[in-house]
Symmetry: C2
Subunit: 596 residues, 2 copies
C-alpha cells in the first residue's frame, strides 16, 4: 500500500515564513487570498491527493493504458477521478480569471502540483499538459483562438498536449519534418507523425487540443523554420459544440518503464486543420514559453515522488523490526528494534528528507519569482524576478528530478527486498521518477541551457539575481552566534561556485566545449548552494522560533536538525564538483571515438 | 535490441597483465591452464553469452515466470538455453574436479560470470545459486551428502537455492522461525515458510536442492540457534534416481521490478526431510561461506549490467544524430552530428566506462586472492589473501552494485526518451540492476560488515592486506615522470582514507553508532581508492606499452584516457566522503523519531 499525506506544515512554512524577505515584494493581485484561505485550499488539495488520486496510483500502474483501434483507454478509475478533479475546479486553480481560472499564485499552485505528483504522477500529466497548452495559447493565440479554446481548457473539459518530438528528432528540433500548408481560409493543413506525446489520446476529456511544431512551405532549415500550430482532435463549431474529427489519429502507445497510466502516444496528423500560434517560423519562442513552465513542473514531479517515497520509507522504518540498536536495545519489549534506530537507515531517511525540504524551499522561492515576474507593478522587480526564473528553471528541472530519483531509490533501499516487489509500491516510484530526468529536455540539456545560455546572458545578469541574495545573506549572518559555522560553510561552497563560474566563463569564452564539459557538475553545484542557502535561512528562522519558545517547537527543531544534516553530509559534495569542473574538458574528450 | 559482446581485450588485460605483481604468487594447481587456453575459454563463453543468453533476455523480461498449481514455468527459451549451458559444461567451470568440475581459477570464472550477467542476469541466477549451494555442501557436508549431491549439482542436472529469508526476517536472521525436528534415522523434519527464494522452483532441472536455515528444538534464541539443512525437492534414491516428493511446495512467485525471468519463490516446507550441514546451531557459519561467495558474485552482476548498458549506450551515441558539435560541425554530410560528439554525452559514456573498467580490475584482483586463499601452498599467502578477500567482499558487493545501477541509469539517459521505453532494452538493465543493491545483504549491511566486523578484526589486519600494496605503490611511483601527478592524487585520496579509518576506529571504539554512521561513505571511499589504485597501475602499464610502441597502442591509449578521466572526475568524490565521515553521527541521529 502506498502512503501519502500532503506535508502541510512544511508547505505552510515555505509559503508563509521562509521567503518573506525574498525582495520581490507583495503583489496587489493576490491580496484577496488571505493566508487562511490559501491554507484551506492546500488542505483540500491534500485530501484530493490522498483520497482520490492515491488510491488509483498502483492500480493504474498495473493496468496501464490500452489502445484498441486507435482508441486509448486510461486505467479503471481515472475517468471518475478526472471528473472529480475537474468538477472541484482544480484544473482552473492557477489559470487566468479572464478565462474562468481562479488566479491563485504559482507559490500555491506549485505546492498543489507537488501533491498531485506525489499521489499519482501519471494522472498529473493529463491536467499538467493542459496547463502548458493554456499558457502557450494565452501568450500567442489570437483573441478568437483564446475565446474558443481557453475557457474549455481552463475548465478541464478539453485537454492539451505538446507535439514536438518526432522519431528522428527529440533534443534537436531543427530536424523535424511535420509540415503545415496554408489554406485560403487562414487555417493550415498539418501533416506528419509525432512520438512520445503525453496525453496525446485518452478518454478523459471531450476534446484534445494539440500544440504542434511544424514547418511552413517557405520555412528556413533548422530551428529557425519551425512554427507552432493549434490542432484540435475535433474541430469545434462556432457555438463551441464539437464538430467533425480532424484527421488526428493515435497509431500506438508506448510500453514504458513507468508512468504507465499516462498514455504516451504516437500521433499521426493527416492534413489536419490547424491555426498558427504566434508568428511564422517563430514557433520555438512559443514552444519555450510553454516548455519553461513545464520544466519547472517536471522538477516538481521529482519532488512529489521524493516526498511519497520518504513517507513510505518512514512508515516502514518505524514498523519493520530487524536487529537491535548499536547503542543497546531500544525496544526490549519487541523481538527486535524498529529499523529506524539504525544509523544507516537514518542516513537514508535524513537524506530523503533533506532533499525534499530543500527542493520544496527552492521551489517556493522560484514560484514567488514567477508570480512577481507575471504580476509585479515594479519594472525592476519584474526584470529581476524574470532573471531569477530564467536561471533557476534548468536547475529546478534537473536538480529536482535527479534528487527525486535518488530519493525514490533510497525509498526502495529502506524496504530492502520488500521494496523490490510490487506490493508496497516503492519500486513504482522509481520507475515513475525515471522519466522526469529525460522529458522536457534531458538533464544534460538543462545543464547546457544553464552554462550555454543562462550564465553569459546580459553579462551575467541572470546569475546576479541569485548571487546577490546569497552573498548578502552570508555577509549578514556569518557571525550568527548559533549558526555562524553553517553560514560560513555556505560561504565556502558559494566561493567554490563563484570560482567555478569564473573558470567556465574564462574557458568557455574561447571553447564552448569547455562550458559543455562543466555543465552537469555546475548545475549540481549551483543547486546545492541554493539548497544550502534556503536551509541556512530556514535554520535562522527555526532558531528564532525556538528561542522564542514557539508552541510548534518540534517542527522548528526538526527543521534545524535537517539543516544540520544537509550541511554535514550533503553540502561537502560541492568541493568534489568544484574539482571536477576545474579539471576541464581534456580527459572527457580525449578518447578516440573508435575506441569507445 | 539489446547489445552485448564480451569485452575480451580488457578481460585479458585484467587476467594476464594488470595483477602480475599481486604478491600472491603463482599457483601450481593452475599451471595446466595456459593463457591461450584461458583466452579460448573466455572467447567461447562470450559466444555463449551473446548467442544463447542475450537473445532471451528481453523476451524473458516481458514474459516473466508463471506459476500454476505450484508449478513454475520459466519464459520461452530458458529451458533450451539452460540445456545448452549445462551440456557445454559451463555449470562445472570453476567447480572442484573431484565432483566433475573443471577447476578453472576464480580469476577466469568471475570474468565468465560478468559475461553471463551482462547478457541475462535473470538466467545467471539459476546456475549462480547452484554454485553457492555447491560451496556450502563442499565445506560442510558429510562425505555421503557430498557424493550424493555434488556431482549432480556440478553437472547442473540439479540446481541449488539458499533459503534464508522469512516474512518477518531478512537482515536479522535471529528472528527466523522455521524449525527442524531430529528423527531416528539421523535426518530432520523441516517445517516452515521462506520467502524471496531465487530459483526456488522452476522447470530447468530435475531436482532442486534447498539449503535451509532452521532452528533445532533445543536451539538457543537468536542467530546462535540457527542450523543449516540440505532439503531436496525430490528425495534421491540410493542409486541417484529421483524418489518421492519431499513436501516442499511453491506457494507463490513475486511480482518484481526486474529480473522477471528469475523465479522468486515463496516456499513452504512441510515436515520435509533434511540433513544437517555442519554443526548444530552453527548454521550461520555455513551460511556465510555460501553468502560471502554470493556477495562477490552479486557485485559482478552490477558490473555485468554496467557493461551491457555501456555497450548499448555507445552504439546509440554513435548512431543517433542530434545537434552539432560545440566545436563546429563534425559530420556536415549528415543532417546532424552523432551525439557522441557532445561533451555531456561523453561525460556519461566515460563515467560508465571508468566504472566498468575499474570494477573489472578490482574484481580481477579479488578473484586472484580467492584463488590464492584456496590453493596457495604458502600459509602466509593464504592468510594475507584471505584477509584481502574478507575486507573486499563487502566493498565489491556494494560498490559494484551501486555503480552498476548508476551506469545502467546513465545508459537510459544517453538514449533519452528512447531509453525509457521497452524497445531498446535499456530500462530493463536499470530494473534488473536495482535488486543487486539489496539481496545477499543490503548495501547498508555491507557497509556495517566493513566498519563493524572487518576494520577492527585482528587489530586491523584485514585492512593492511589492502593498505600495504597501495602505499607501496604510491611510494614507488609518486615521482613517475609521466604519471607522478596521478599517483600523488591517489596518495591524497589514500591519506583521506587513512584519516577516515583512524577517525572511525577512535570514535567507533567508544560508540558503535559512530561506526554505523560512517559505514556507507567509508565503503565508497575505500572503493574509490581501490579503483584509483588499479587505474594508476593500469596507466603505468599503458605508458610502458605506448613508449615501447606496442602494436595494440589504441587499447593502451584508451586505458590511459579512461584512467585520466577517473582521476579528474571521479576520484575527487573522496574528499566529500571524507568530510561527511568526519562530521560524525550527531546530525544523523538528532531528529526525534516522532518528527520524521
Amino acid at each position: 500500500m502506498q502512503l501519502y499525506q500532503a506535508p502541510l506544515r512544511d508547505m505552510r512554512f515555505v509559503l508563509h515564513e521562509l521567503h518573506r524577505d525574498d525582495g520581490f515584494g507583495g503583489l496587489a493581485r493576490f491580496e484577496q487570498f488571505t493566508p487562511d484561505l490559501l491554507d484551506a485550499v492546500l488542505e483540500e488539495a491534500g485530501r484530493l491527493a490522498s483520497e482520490v488520486l492515491l488510491p488509483i496510483n498502483a492500480s493504474g500502474d498495473i493496468e496501464g493504458c490500452r489502445i484498441e483501434n486507435g482508441v486509448v483507454r486510461t486505467p479503471a478509475g481515472f475517468r471518475e477521478a478526472y471528473d472529480r478533479f475537474r468538477e472541484g475546479g482544480w484544473c482552473a486553480l492557477a489559470a487566468d480569471p479572464r478565462y474562468g481560472g481562479q488566479g491563485l499564485p504559482e507559490a500555491v499552485n506549485k505546492l498543489f502540483e507537488e501533491m498531485i505528483c506525489a499521489a499519482n504522477v501519471s494522472f498529473s500529466l493529463y491536467p499538467g499538459l493542459t496547463r502548458g497548452a493554456t499558457i502557450a495559447i494565452e501568450g500567442y493565440g489570437t483573441e478568437d483562438l483564446k475565446n474558443a479554446y481557453l475557457p474549455k481548457l481552463v475548465e478541464g473539459r478539453w485537454s492539451g498536449t505538446m507535439c514536438l518530438t518526432e522519431a528522428q528528432c527529440g533534443t534537436d528540433l531543427g530536424l523535424l519534418r511535420t509540415r503545415a500548408v496554408p489554406r485560403q481560409d487562414g487555417s493550415y493543413g498539418v501533416t506528419g507523425s509525432k512520438i512520445f506525446i503525453s496525453a496525446g489520446e485518452h478518454d478523459l476529456t471531450e476534446n484534445i487540443v494539440h500544440l504542434v511544431l511544424a514547418r511552413l512551405p517557405d520555412a528556413p532549415a533548422g530551428v529557425k523554420g519551425i512554427s507552432m500550430f493549434l490542432v484540435p482532435k475535433y474541430l469545434p463549431n462556432a457555438d463551441g459544440s464539437l464538430g467533425p474529427s480532424n484527421g488526428v489519429s493515435c497509431a500506438n502507445i508506448e510500453h514504458k518503464m513507468g508512468i504507465k497510466a499516462s498514455a504516451t502516444c504516437q500521433l499521426d496528423f493527416d492534413d489536419s486543420t490547424g491555426w498558427l500560434l504566434g508568428r511564422p517560423h517563430k514557433g520555438m519562442e512559443a514552444m519555450f514559453t510553454m516548455m519553461n513552465s513545464e520544466r519547472v513542473s517536471v522538477g516538481i514531479q521529482g519532488l512529489g515522488l521524493g516526498e511519497a517515497a520518504y513517507q513510505g520509507a518512514v512508515a516502514y522504518a518505524r514498523d519493520r523490526l530487524q536487529g537491535r540498536s548499536l547503542a543497546g536495545s531500544r525496544r526490549p519489549d519487541l523481538p527486535a528494534d524498529p529499523i529506524i534506530v539504525h544509523p544507516d537507515v537514518r542516513r537514508m531517511l535524513m537524506t530523503m528528507r533533506a532533499y525534499n525540504e530543500g527542493c520544496r524551499a527552492i521551489a517556493g522561492w522560484v514560484a514567488r519569482a514567477i508570480d512577481a515576474e507575471r504580476h509585479s507593478a515594479d519594472a525592476e522587480t519584474v526584470r529581476r524576478a524574470g532573471d531569477f526564473v530564467a536561471l533557476m528553471t534548468p536547475v529546478v528541472k534537473a536538480l529536482f528530478t535527479d534528487l527525486g530519483f535518488e530519493t525514490a531509490n533510497l525509498g526502495v533501499q529502506v524496504y530492502g527486498g520488500h521494496g523490490y516487489i510490487r506490493e508496497h509500491g516503492m519500486e513504482q516510484h522509481v520507475r515513475d521518477a525515471r522519466i522526469a530526468m529525460i522529458y522536457e529536455g534531458t538533464n544534460g540539456i538543462q545543464a547546457l541551457d544553464l552554462v550555454g545560455r543562462k550564465l553569459g546572458a546580459h553579462y551575467g545578469r541572470y546569475l546576479r539575481a541569485f548571487f546577490h541574495p546569497v552573498s548578502n545573506f552570508i555577509e549578514a549572518n556569518g557571525q550568527h552566534p548559533k549558526l555562524g559555522g553553517m553560514v560560513q560553510a555556505l560561504g565556502q561552497a558559494f566561493g567554490a561556485l563563484q570560482l567555478a563560474t569564473a573558470t567556465i566563463a574564462r574557458k568557455g569564452m574561447k571553447d564552448p566545449e569547455e562550458a559543455g564539459a562543466a555543465g552537469t557538475d555546475y548545475l549540481r553545484l549551483i543547486g546545492l548552494v541554493a539548497m544550502g542557502h534556503v536551509f541556512a535561512k530556514a535554520a535562522l528562522i527555526a532558531v528564532e522560533k525556538l528561542e522564542g519558545g514557539d508552541p510548534e517547537s518540534p517542527f522548528y527543531k526538526a527543521k534545524l536538525d535537517t539543516a544540520a544534516f544537509f550541511f554535514d553530509r550533503i553540502l561537502p559534495g560541492t568541493m568534489a564538483l568544484f574539482m571536477a569542473i576545474k579539471a576541464g574538458k581534456e580527459s572527457m574528450m580525449a578518447l578516440d571515438e573508435a575506441a569507445f
